[in-house]
């Protein structure tokens, strides 16, 4: 199956600034996270893929070239912007119908799909009122609905949980997770929030200084920290360290209620429980330590070419 988005040696200069320096990679997952520090070239890359800036090198989106067929690409690709992007004086329904028509849908079709998209985004009640009076969470939902109206095959989401309180953030993430099944579109999620990426994405693209440093499964990103387990206890960390030491395991305390123990890849957990019983310590957590998203991210960024 060919990738949704392919890039080969893409360069883009803005005067003296070399924003994209030979970006090469492919995106083919259901939900792909797009990460990178500020200045890495993420926003330039998105502009390039949507056909809004010229660039050198090769890039295809859904098999089309954004350089020559920008509007055709945008016919089938949706974009939910990070910034405010609304038309004053219009209601959510009007804006979504407008969005649909601008993407080439006939009016009737646009009206039907606008309502469907607004229902999906959870904006049933307020959708006839002017957007000017909406809360932040509602504005985000309108932006999402407007990006979905024209039935895109790929949807770019730019910081979709910005400004949302924990409940709304949760709801937005749930919507995102469901979208590939329920709306039949693949998602590229551009965000700074690593835990969000961890939660919803199956693939990740990490950019740094205009190049793509990593592109692939999220599982491949995080290197195993070699069979180290994190053991949480109610209290008495030091007692357990000693007890494990007596059993031949060199454990180390990492917090007042947790320690790290190198147990190998398929260990016998009962060793730990026995050592805990001997030390009269209550075990409350037992888990293979994975490299955290942050550590993986920093590792990828840190390896300079």
């Amino acid at each position: 199956m060919s990738a949704l988005i392919e890039l080969r040696d893409v360069h883009k200069r803005f005067g003296a600034v070399h924003a994209l320096r030979g970006a090469t990679g492919a995106i083919s997952g259901r939900i792909t996270g797009l990460l990178g520090p500020n200045g890495a070239g993420k926003s330039t890359l998105i502009k390039a893929l949507l056909g809004l800036v010229e660039f050198e090198g090769e890039g295809t989106v859904l098999g089309m070239s954004p350089k020559t067929d920008g509007p055709a690409v945008r016919d089938r690709v949706g974009y939910m912007p990070e910034n405010e992007a609304y038309l004053p004086g219009m209601s959510a329904v009007e804006m979504c119908v407008y969005a649909g028509e601008l993407s080439g849908l006939p009016r009737q079709e646009a009206m039907q799909r606008a309502h469907a998209a607004l229902y999906y985004a959870g904006l049933e009640e307020k959708r006839y009122q002017p957007i000017d009076g909406y809360s932040t969470g509602q504005k985000q939902r309108v932006k999402l609905a407007a990006a979905l109206v024209h039935d895109p095959e790929v949807l770019f989401l730019d910081e979709p949980t910005n400004g949302l309180d924990p409940r709304s953030r949760e709801e937005m993430l749930e919507l995102i997770v469901d979208m590939p099944e329920k709306r039949g579109c693949s998602i590229v999620l551009s965000t700074h929030l690593l835990p969000d990426v961890d939660r919803v994405c199956d693939q990740v693209v990490i950019m740094h200084q205009g190049r793509i440093r990593f592109s692939g499964d999220i599982a491949k990103l995080r290197q195993s920290v070699g069979g180290t387990y994190r053991i949480e206890v109610k209290d008495g960390v030091d007692r357990l360290v000693t007890s494990l030491g007596a059993a031949g395991i060199a454990a180390k305390a990492v917090s007042p209620i947790a320690l790290a123990a190198p147990l190998g890849d398929a260990p016998d957990a009962s060793i730990v429980f026995r050592a805990a019983k001997d030390a009269r310590v209550q075990v409350r957590g037992f888990e293979l330590e994975k490299e955290s998203m942050e550590a993986a991210f920093l590792r990828v960024i840190g390896d300079e070419a």
């Binding site: 949507l50 800036v53 912007p81 601008l102 039935d151 730019d158």
Partner: protein
């Protein structure tokens, strides 16, 4: 035997065709007009002014015809050389221009700057809309609005005038309607393009409106003043240009102490230049800024 069914309300892909790219600007035209029509105190107020001007002119025509038939002769009256009734129509043009200025101020000058300010550019250009679609769409919408302000009342009054003339004269006076329409169309294009172009120059909506107001009220008056000395320059005053087209087409001359008239050919040139200039200016500015909000800060 009875049956039951549960329908799948799930998502259905859109498998139909999409309208061709060239029709997108029409969507923007419709939207521009619909938005202007919404609040009653902007566009509709200007429309009211235009209607009043038309009604007053029509009333004058009616009274003149009813009270003094035979006015159709070429006489000099009230400073109008030529047919008085035709001249009255021509004199209504400045009033219609004032209404058009109001529309340009409220619906025209603020559009592009306002869009840029609230982030509507991101909305438009992350979709299959090209800068040219956007500009033509905005221009088209404003043009339609200005047609309602200038061309429609003018043509209506001209039609009324034709209707009020003696049956023997009807064929002679019929072209008046066409002439009124032409004047209206030129005026509408001019008053749509210029505020649009100026709107594209400035970042903030308020500043754009101020810019157009300054341009129209201050700069144009200076141009008018210079034009008293050298008439071709006067053609670049928007109101003077449109009025002079009207007076020329209606075959009347108006004494300078009532109203100075710019030369006809120069007026046409000015209208074309300013209109084309406005649209081009808007297009260049929008093209440069189209991708702005996309991709985040």
């Amino acid at each position: 035997m009875s049956t039951g069914a549960i329908h799948d309300l799930g998502y259905k892909r859109y498998l139909g065709t999409r309208r061709p790219q060239s029709t997108r600007w029409g969507v923007i035209v419709r939207n521009t007009v619909a938005q202007a029509w919404k609040t009653w105190w902007r566009f509709k107020m200007a429309l009211g002014l235009a209607v009043v001007a038309a009604v007053v002119t029509g009333g004058f025509i009616y009274v003149s015809r009813a009270v003094a038939p035979g006015m159709g002769d070429r006489v000099v009256r009230f400073g109008i050389h030529g047919n008085l009734l035709d001249g009255i129509i021509a004199l209504s043009v400045p009033w219609l221009c004032k209404a058009a200025f109001l529309v340009g101020l409220t619906a025209g000058a603020g559009t592009i700057a306002g869009d840029r300010q609230v982030g509507a550019f991101t909305f438009y250009f992350s979709r299959p809309v090209r800068p040219i679609d956007y500009v033509l769409g905005k221009f088209g919408g404003l043009f339609l609005l200005q047609l309602l302000i200038i061309a429609a009342p003018l043509t209506a009054v001209a039609a009324f005038r034709v209707g009020m003339s003696d049956s023997s004269d009807i064929l002679k006076t019929l072209p008046l309607v066409g002439k009124a329409a032409i004047t209206g169309v030129l005026g509408a294009a001019l008053y749509a393009a210029v505020p649009l172009g100026l709107s594209a120059l400035v970042q903030r909506r308020r500043n754009a409106i101020a810019l157009f107001a300054v341009f129209y009220l201050v700069v144009s008056n200076i141009v008018y003043g210079i034009g008293i000395g050298s008439p071709p320059v006067m053609a670049f005053n928007m109101q003077a240009a449109v009025t002079s087209v009207g007076t020329h087409l209606f075959d009347v001359t108006i004494d300078p102490f009532i109203q100075r008239t710019a030369p006809f050919v120069w007026s046409l040139v000015a209208i074309v230049l300013l209109t084309a200039g406005g649209i081009t200016l808007a297009w260049i500015q929008v093209r440069d800024q189209a991708g702005h909000g996309v991709g985040g800060s």
